[in-house]
């Protein structure tokens, strides 16, 4: 492990993906809650022409310059989307699709242009397509942190405004909050989160880094603060997991590996998260149905017993009980009723109510037959 951490490249990559995972997880929570999950996808694609143009204009390949171009293009993308949906006939999904594909196409056009310049090899720019975490150097990681940390600080400072905007923008405005400015801040932070991920996971997969940690975190909590914290943690975990995966096996591209880890977290959360998870809901459903079945069996046993001159402990053959329940096999129900002490097994395969069971059945029947108030 220690030799592992001494590897310079790995240390840099790890630092980079941690900064990215934390930041994009936190910001993605807001995007997902505002139903703008796919805005991230559009904006990351929209960043491409900015990167290339920054290179064409400055002649520099410094990450800072390129990312500045990306941020400006991403910002222009949000303005374009906003202008488009203001009309009556262009819906948000079309606006996102157009910005995504047209900006990206423009980026490709500029890229072919850039490649013709003397001395401008293809390498260096197209790493932004899929991301190449291995190319991260110390200054890149420092830059990522220099963007992520102040942004997170802004997130904390303006926490309650951002929260109110996300939940109830009209009320925020009624309270006198400058909603447009807060919204601009949130969009800016989102663009920045995208920008710092471009070099690591690339244009195409960046949106997953925003959505997956947030979607996973949402399943575990009903509090925004915890959701954002968990999403940041999930982002960091997927980042680290992806880097470990790609460094331990040859030819595992880092970006997709990170996305795969994040998606595994999502699947696990969807399945196993308490209360909301699919497994949990399924168990709850089964428990409820079992309880209904038990009550139904008790009810029928009571009815039948009363036909036998009111002898509540009159035994009934299982076949008879079975015929009165919709369930395919009544045995598990009877066994759990037996464990609860409500029925007793008699000779052969016949069953009778205990006095506790009869009491329960009586009170249930009373409840059933009471007219609704």
């Amino acid at each position: 492990m220690s030799s592992f951490l001494q590897d310079y490249t790995l240390r840099m990559v790890l630092g980079g993906v941690l900064a990215l995972g934390i930041f994009s997880g936190a910001l993605g929570s807001f995007a997902v809650l505002r139903r703008q999950s796919l805005l991230g996808d559009a904006l990351s694609h929209a960043a491409l022409p900015g990167i290339v143009l920054a290179f064409l204009l400055s002649g520099s390949r410094a990450t800072g310059v390129l990312l500045l171009g990306a941020a400006i293009a991403g910002w222009l993308g949000t303005l374009a989307i906003r202008a488009m949906v203001r009309g009556r006939l262009t819906r948000e999904d079309s606006a996102l699709g157009i910005v995504l594909s047209v900006f990206f196409g423009l980026g490709l056009v500029l890229l072919t242009w850039a490649q013709r310049l003397p001395g401008a090899g293809k390498a260096g720019l197209d790493k932004f397509l899929f991301g190449q975490a291995a190319t991260l150097v110390r200054s890149d990681v420092l830059l990522m942190c220099a963007i992520a940390l102040p942004s997170l600080l802004l997130l904390v400072l303006f926490w309650k405004e951002l929260k109110l905007l996300t939940f109830d923008a009209a009320y925020a405005r009624a309270l006198g909050l400058p909603v447009e400015r807060v919204e601009a801040l949130l969009t800016l932070l989102l663009v920045l989160a995208i920008v710092i991920g471009l070099q690591t996971v690339g244009v195409v997969l960046m949106s997953a880094m925003l959505i997956a940690p947030a979607a996973a975190a949402r399943q575990w909590t009903d509090r925004l603060s915890r959701m954002v914290a968990l999403a940041a943690l999930a982002g960091a975990l997927s980042g680290a997991g992806g880097v470990l995966l790609s460094s331990s096996a040859p030819r595992w591209p880092t970006g997709p590996a990170i996305v795969l880890c994040a998606s595994l977290l999502v699947v696990a959360s969807l399945l196993f998260a308490p209360h909301r998870g699919i497994l949990w809901s399924w168990l709850r459903f089964r428990r409820n149905r079992r309880r209904l079945d038990e009550d139904l069996v008790l009810y029928h046993m009571l009815q039948m017993a009363q036909h036998h001159a009111g002898r509540l402990d009159h035994p009934h053959a299982r076949r008879v009980i079975q015929s009165m329940t919709p369930r395919a096999d009544v045995r598990p129900v009877l066994h759990s009723l037996e464990q609860a002490g409500w029925v007793r097994r008699r000779e052969g395969d016949s069953w009778s109510l205990t006095s506790d069971g009869a009491e329960r059945a009586l009170s249930h029947r009373a409840e059933r037959e009471r007219p609704p108030s």
Partner: protein, 369 residues
């Protein structure tokens, strides 16, 4: 020259094939599914490649389309679970499928000749070199055949189910009640979108398929309200964009797909700005005229309501218009100038008075309410 013509033919066929189902996607507000599908098909291509050992068999096309449909099914499943919303569900599923595909490709770079760049970006320029041959005879470029086949399928689907698609797009509930099975139509449409993406990605790449599918219908939407015309206009715009984009790319030596997308984007931008009724300029002019006319109505109504009342001296003052109506001085002056010029009001010692024409206008406006 021959090669150029062939490329132009392929581009036009694919443009129409994309624009037709794209129109339905735009109307159904599912535009971004095209992006998700076009990324997801990579997984199908890779898997079918492993199964077949080549990229040439029809199985690859079907496998690829199937993985697009798989994406749709998974999204539907997530949405049904009510644990994530639709936008997030789309954004969760397609990156996974795409990532798996990319990982598979790079793990087996030795055995698979599949350039992920090419999948994303497409290479129309090479299309004429990939030819379909039967019994030694050259039947033309394979891309043209595939594109034409898919176009025919799309046309057939649209032609057969036009009224059903129209209804289920407009009102899925009613369509279900009438027994048109909107769910089946939905999957039918998305299967065709997948197939179209597969056919088109070779030529223009998976991201620019999105441009071909979304931009022309969104543009046409600003130009017509009629469904039939919308399809025709979308197809025409797509073809024009593809051909113009190709010409530009050849002339300036640029990436073909990128240049097509840029041209389509320009089409949209121009239409958005200058469409006769729904364009930004037209809407702004209309809004201004309306505001001015409404303000004129408001002025005469205001005067009418206070005419002869004790508050008239206060309410009919010129300065009052700025104070109470909250109008900027220039705006108030403009409205007043209009009203004076049209002979609806007169001004006397700082007070405004209605003329008979003005009273008529106010009464008419009030009846209109």
């Amino acid at each position: 020259m021959q090669a150029h013509l062939e490329i132009l033919a392929i581009a036009a066929v694919i443009a129409v094939a994309c624009a037709l189902p794209g129109t339905l996607l735009v109307l159904r507000r599912m535009a971004l599914l095209s992006d998700a599908i076009s990324h997801s098909i990579l997984l199908g291509i890779v898997l079918a490649f492993f199964a077949q050992g080549g990229l040439d068999s029809p199985l690859v096309i079907l496998g690829a389309a199937a993985s697009g449909v798989l994406m749709v099914v998974l999204v539907e499943f997530l949405v049904r679970s009510r644990l994530v919303r639709e936008d997030a569900a789309i954004g969760l599923v397609f990156p996974v499928l795409f990532s798996i595909a990319v990982i598979l490709v790079s793990r087996h770079t030795g055995s698979i000749h599949l350039d992920v760049d090419a999948v994303l970006l497409g290479e129309l320029a090479f299309a004429p070199f990939d030819r379909l041959e039967a019994g030694g005879a050259d039947l033309g470029p394979r891309g043209l055949w595939i594109g034409t086949g898919i176009l025919a399928l799309n046309l057939a689907f649209l032609g057969l189910c036009y009224k059903e698609l129209k209804l289920s797009t407009f009102d899925a509930g009613l369509a279900a009640v009438l027994g048109f099975m909107p769910g089946v139509l939905h999957y039918g449409l998305l299967s065709l979108v997948s197939l179209t993406c597969v056919g088109a990605f070779d030529a223009v790449g998976s991201i620019l398929v999105v441009a071909l599918m979304i931009a022309p219908p969104a543009t046409a939407r600003l130009l017509t309200e009629r469904l039939g015309l919308l399809f025709a206009l979308s197809a025409a715009l797509a073809v024009a964009g593809a051909l113009l984009g190709y010409g530009l790319a050849v002339f300036l030596d640029l990436n073909i797909a990128g240049s097509m997308a840029t041209v389509l984007g320009l089409f949209f931008a121009l239409t958005w700005l200058a469409a006769p009724r729904e364009g930004w300029l037209a809407r702004r002019a209309l809004r201004r005229a309306q505001t001015r006319r409404l303000a004129g109505d408001l002025l005469v109504i205001h005067l009418l309501q206070h005419e002869g009342s004790p508050t008239e001296r206060r309410e009919a003052r010129v300065i009052h218009m700025q104070e109470h109506l909250g109008w900027s001085p220039e705006f108030a002056r403009g409205v007043l100038a209009d009203a004076l010029e049209e002979g609806h009001v007169t001004r006397m010692d700082g007070l405004l008075h209605l003329k008979p024409e003005g009273r008529q206008r106010a009464e008419k406006a009030l009846v209109h309410i």
